[in-house]
Amino acid sequence: MTTENRNSNAALVIGAGIAGIKVALEIAESGARVYLCDRQPHIGGTLVQLDKWFPDNHCGLCKILPVFNRDRTGQYCLRRGLLHPNIELLLHHQVKKVEGKPGRFSVTLKPEYPRVNPELCTGCGICEAACPVTDDANFNQVPGGHRAIFLHHPLALPKTYSIDAERCTRCGACVDACPTRAISMSAPDEGLQLKVGAIILSTGFENFDATTATQYGYQRYPNVITGLELERRPGGSGPFPGVLYRPSDGAIPRSIAFLQCVGCRDRKRDYCSSACCMYAIKEATMIKEMYPDTDVNIFFMDLRAFGKGHHRYYDKARDELGVRFTRQRVPAVKQDFRTGDLLIMAFDQSGEVITSRFDMVVLATGQTPSREFEETCQILGIKTNKWGFAATGAFSAVDTTREGIFVCGTASTPQDIADTLVEATAAAGRAMGFLGSEKALPVTPPRPGEEEAGAAVILCNCYGQVGQTINLREIADFCHRAPGVAYVEEVVHLCHPETWREVKARLSESGVNKAVIAACSLLPPPGLYEDTCIELINIREQLAWVHRDDGLKATEKAGRLVNMALEKIHSQEYVPPPEGESVVPGALVIGGGLAGLSAARAIAERGFGVEVVEKSDALGGNAGHVFSLLGGENPREYLENLVDEVKNHPRIHLRLNTEVVGVTGHIGNFKCTLKDERSETADIEAGAIIVATGAGESRPSEYLYGRAGQVITQRELEAGLASGRIDAAALRSVAMVQCVGSRDKDRPYCSRVCCSQALKNALNLKLLNPETEITVFYRDIMSYGFREEYYTRAREAGVLFVRYEPEQKPQVSLEDDVLEIRATDPVTGNVVIIRPDRLVLSPAIVPPDDNTALSRVLGIGLTGDGFFREMEAKFLPVDSPRAGIFLCGLASRPQDIRETITQAGAAAQQAAALLSRSRLTGGKAVSLVNERRCSGCELCIAACPYEARVKNVEKGVARVIEALCQGCGACAAACPNGAASLRELKDQQLFRILDAAL
């Protein structure tokens, strides 16, 4: 057993999918160390198999990368890998034992065998050619092609081959073939022991095994595929990029059926997977974009488009792209054996059985816990819920049953990426509390300018992978002759740790501070870029491997590329790293509701001062109107405790009856003007701002609300039942109407919480008086995740659910004080008439009117629905478009109490990570202003997407806020005078590169 002496100011993250990556980055950027382990030999989990995401059909994975101190971290697409000085990847490892207490866990990990050592593997692929075993299952989800040793995912970093232990015959052919001796077959009896302060579980989900749903004929009928297969087949890195072929005959499908809820919402798995409706719509949209004439029909039960922007996406698919939606759970799929077409038998509206024919059927499979999840939970000593996901609390989505161990993402509940990222950030924030004192990431000290010592050229042969196409000798000779080259070094295996050390040692000994590294896409370890001017060129993936047939020309090209790189670094002026901008170590929280208070407490616990501003004279906001949660828990006690803690916290300062009327400055240094009820103003400084201004309940204008005493809202019913003003025993019949003022033309969004609220109140009523007849008129019941169980319970308790179409809303009339509701059941066409004692409405959650004014003050926009807009809906769900301002709670979107607490935790974590920095620095590659050339035309200010350029009014020229500049170069391209330029790529430099290229 090797015991590594590692400090406990570190966290262990189990599972390196998107949730794990986000947790790791958040903790690493807060100054602690992270061990990121995964059973798989690569990072990215399920996510890397997908190309695009709803609700905007874009990829934005790279947007979660750190924006500060960028030179320390890998600035590359996350599909290639993750590089951070505080993150250590332990891939292909399994957790075997966890001992100790929170803050001082001792964890034993074991590498999986047979094993390819990621430190040694160069990804050359010789082993795969040597392997005699073929394998069916693979990344692309189509049969065929893979050996028992294979590259699971062609973009992954580390580009490490992996062995399928089940199929491997242990013949040893690959072991002998491997030039770097990276493969070992048997497991030496040793593990790795780590001391960590906190553990975060982010192991994700597994797709439901569709072969067990035999009625759909998956794997018996070739044209029945799963949603994931549909993603992979036409995917950019898939087997048939850009085209969708029918598996049986390669024809372009003219009709495709999606079957929803496969493996979910049934007796065995009585939960909803939350994301499948949306991914089916996304896939349908992508098919429609490829083949507008293909008929796409989604067979669903309830269409759960409850997330931010999701309902608009659904409307667009249905109304603009012509995706058909059929409300039906399909009982079975049959195949026409002559054509391979698939037959779906279904009832039509009149009750007739009709058979529809489809070219392909896509099963939208649900999320299930991974096979090994239960074992992992046992090792960690945490409990699972009855469906096998990690059990969490009623008020925390990230705390497990064991202190110091947290969970996020689909390991605890099925959910989509945006929700996963919010949870991951919140989990990181909770874990930071167990990691001891935080240390700000060190800022690279400015290095004095040095004498020109020439440049080093390092050429890697990669065990002949490069040399077999390119004549490296010739390149080296050319480099020796080139001016300004101090030395040329040829190595065979640059990414080997030993070689790295030697190369780095020689670099620093020779005093060379410029180097051209010609190697491959495996990234060098971090820390090298900081004080050396490095130009990387990829002569393996972008040369040797793609120009195999033409060694002569490839060599010539390699020579030119080296020359171009030399020109670039020779013309690179040494600029000391930016000093960065100071950070005010305090936050401003706008809003004293549940979200604001939770965020304030979390930030204060991390040691920073917090100023809480509340417009009204009371704390608690909407949460004060909630008397119980769906599971029966009492939120009032939680809220009271929270209010008490906030009131008594030494680092939190409360200001009631106060509004924010002005915000100037930028991230790290906001200057905010507050105005209280006596119109007195106060100026405060804050490093970060959290917007938690909440939302309200709309006042229904329909269904006789306000005109008949019997018509009340869900909130009024809940308060009435809690206070006893409404006597359940006296209620003979109650009707409820959902989506009052939601999901229509004026408010095309789902208010997300009302279905759960109706279920909760209906179950409470039934509990108090089982005789009460309850009828719920609904459009789609949004009981996503484990809320589904309560929908089932309500039906079992006798609550009647009657669906209505938006065009045919229930009609309410009042005659002689008797309320009558008439509705047409869309399935049977029968008219349902009910005369209830009470009609309970579920009104929409609406953003307050003063959001518009506040959004102007803050300089951040609103969505079309009036909620605050985030930087990026999917990948930055907590960041506002203005850096340093974070969103949480109902201000950002409708959500329930637990989700609000989670998002507040996430916002607090992001703010605390920001405040923990002593100075804010961007990267070396930021833009510059040549003031002599600047005419003050402000074109660059308009071009900058980050508001990093401002006008220096005194001088009449542009100025760069380096902390905000991301180094994209948009300003340099926009500047008509050549006054704006990038530090790392000036115009003259580029011209020299071009001259070398041609």
């Binding site: 190309d51 874009h58 990029p241 071009l994």
Partner: protein, 157 residues
């Protein structure tokens, strides 16, 4: 317009000798999407002609039209700009900016009687290794057909 192009090609075609003309091409590829796709093309061992000289820029929006003109005037037979697909830009809107700039540049080239089809703008996302290789093949082939750039060594800026 078409005739003129052919005339110029013919004139230079003779001096290029009987061997097939090999165009010199410059590619500006964004760091996030297209450069990753270029790596992926290599990992999957897709083959394309070596005529392209890639220059990695952080964002396609950093490509000043002047760079393209300079490349064409210094003898590039074609310039291709590869960026993230619309909406995917790491820097929010860089690809939209380059789309507008290059559209303007192409109009100017046409107005001057030059061949605007020597400048290509393509969106290649990180997972589209196959598309990268295919685009490089198509671009090289198209520029080979066009023959040498008549601007080559005639002007300098």
């Amino acid at each position: 317009m078409e005739d003129k192009k052919e005339g110029i090609t013919g004139e230079y075609g003779e001096t290029a000798g009987k061997e097939e003309f090999e165009p010199s091409l410059v590619g500006f590829f964004c760091n996030w999407c297209t450069s990753t796709a270029a790596d992926l093309a290599g990992t999957t061992r897709l083959q394309y002609p070596p005529n392209i000289r890639p220059i990695r820029v952080m964002c396609s929006g950093a490509v000043d039209p002047v760079y393209v003109l300079r490349a064409l005037c210094s003898g590039a037979d074609g310039v291709i700009i590869g960026g993230c697909p619309p909406g995917d830009c790491h820097y929010i809107s860089g690809n939209y900016k380059t789309r507008r700039r290059m559209a303007a540049l192409k109009t100017i080239l046409k107005t001057l009687g030059l061949d605007d089809d020597r400048v290509w703008v393509r969106w290649i996302s990180a997972s589209e290794g196959a598309k990268f290789a295919r685009t490089m093949r198509e671009f090289t082939e198209a520029m080979r057909k066009k023959g040498p750039n008549p601007l080559k060594n005639r002007w300098s800026i």
